[in-house]
Symmetry: C2
Subunit: 225 residues, 2 copies
DNA sequence: CACGTCCTTATTGGATGCAATCTGCGGCTA
DNA sequence: TAGCCGCAGATTGCATCCAATAAGGACGTG
């Protein structure tokens, strides 16, 4: 991989994450190369890297297919994720928040509160909420000050369509509940209460996993992915 | 990668794990290719995969060097590992042991007990103990029945020289203590006591991390790795 | 008509050639 | 003498070529 090779890897990874290449889809080297306007070499590199990450299935001399995640995979991943995210919250509470992290979390909370106050409800609310949600949790993980932990959490979030499916059902009630939980977690972090922070985060991630599994089953049943 | 490419990847990974390519060592494509008797292509594939795994550092147009792990890295990794291993123990206790796992753990315990009983003490004791230790913990992880969790734990164990450094200081006292802890963990698993099993495993891994950090500092100070 | 074998074809695996980029050194200049 | 420019060597990045393997179909036979 190189300047161009890194781009190719990123392109394919995003294509998988966004569902453009669904589970079971066969990725042909020559075809991908033609589509991306490069030769087979950088494509091959990208495919082997993504296969090593587990995003693709590889059989020698037969090629690469997008890994088809099952609901059991999702349950396993979230069981691990609960531990990792709650560890991050515990460490963040132990370390305390630096001013930048505190500011980022406060802003996320405020702007989410604005969304809750909106009278008209439409899908743009969800699109506004997702980045706020991400930045809030990113601040928590950053405050944990453990780069390896952050990398591991990131690996639990590389499943295709994770964010989309997880927030597929989205209504005013869910948004309000999420805000409440974030506020409680922020309070625990500010007060430097590691155990409480870990517990809140664990429950938060647990509920996220439950929603994920339900929506995932529905998506699979609809023949999609 | 292919039939040969997979071999090349494995060779280089083992070379790093065994310390043949120490931290900071520069891996030259052409040189590696000549040494392994293949062309640059499979070597390039192997290097990019290992770089994606974090075992190598990569700078475009400048090549690959073996990642130099610091004692801070080790501390971060073990902080995560404690959670993952104790989760595995908890899940194993919830699931219970199947006959094969039960047998594997019993055999590991018995043969370790034999080692403890040995009167003559030499380095061969350590070499006999390491596989027994590995198989015991492998049985625990298998009983957790969570493939994703096992893969994540494996990633926390890919640091070069991990096993060697971790067990560098090894004496009769340490062996006896390890056996006691394993017996206690096995008891908790047999009795289906998830919380107790998780606690024992967490403390076990915590102590392993402490030894690891101490030995690692000494190794670094000695200029090695 | 069914099954096995052989062959064709498409695709991957590996090797090599060439261009682009970086590094190190020597010389030049202020 | 210190700093900068430029050139030469080495190394990586990408493209292309050829061999090897697997899949699918056609054909022949029981």
């Amino acid at each position: 991989m190189s300047t161009r090779g890194l781009e190719v890897t990123r392109d394919i990874r995003e294509g998988i994450a966004e569902g453009r290449y669904p589970g079971g889809f066969r990725l042909n080297e020559a075809e991908m190369a033609a589509r991306l306007g490069v030769s087979r070499t950088p494509v091959r590199n990208a495919l082997s890297v993504l296969a090593a990450e587990g995003l693709l299935d590889y059989t020698p001399n037969a090629g690469y297919t997008v890994h088809r995640f099952t609901v059991e995979d999702i349950e396993e991943i979230f069981r691990v994720r609960i531990e990792l995210e709650s560890l991050a919250a515990r460490l963040a509470a132990e370390n305390g928040l630096d001013p930048a992290q505190d500011a980022a979390m406060r802003e996320s909370l405020e702007r989410t509160a604005e969304l809750v106050g909106r009278s008209c409800w439409n899908t743009r609310i969800r699109e506004a909420f997702l980045p706020l949600n991400r930045s809030f949790h990113a601040a928590v993980r950053e405050a944990a000050r453990n780069a390896f932990l952050v990398a591991m959490i990131h690996k639990t979030n590389e499943v295709p369509l994770f964010d989309l499916i997880r927030w597929r059902r989205f209504d005013a009630e869910l948004l309000r509940q999420s805000l409440d939980e974030h506020r409680e977690l922020f309070d625990a972090l500010s007060r430097r209460q590691p155990e409480r922070a870990a517990r809140i985060q664990a429950e938060h991630t647990y509920r996220a996993g439950r929603r994920m599994v339900q929506n995932w089953s529905r998506t699979e049943a609809a023949g999609g992915m």
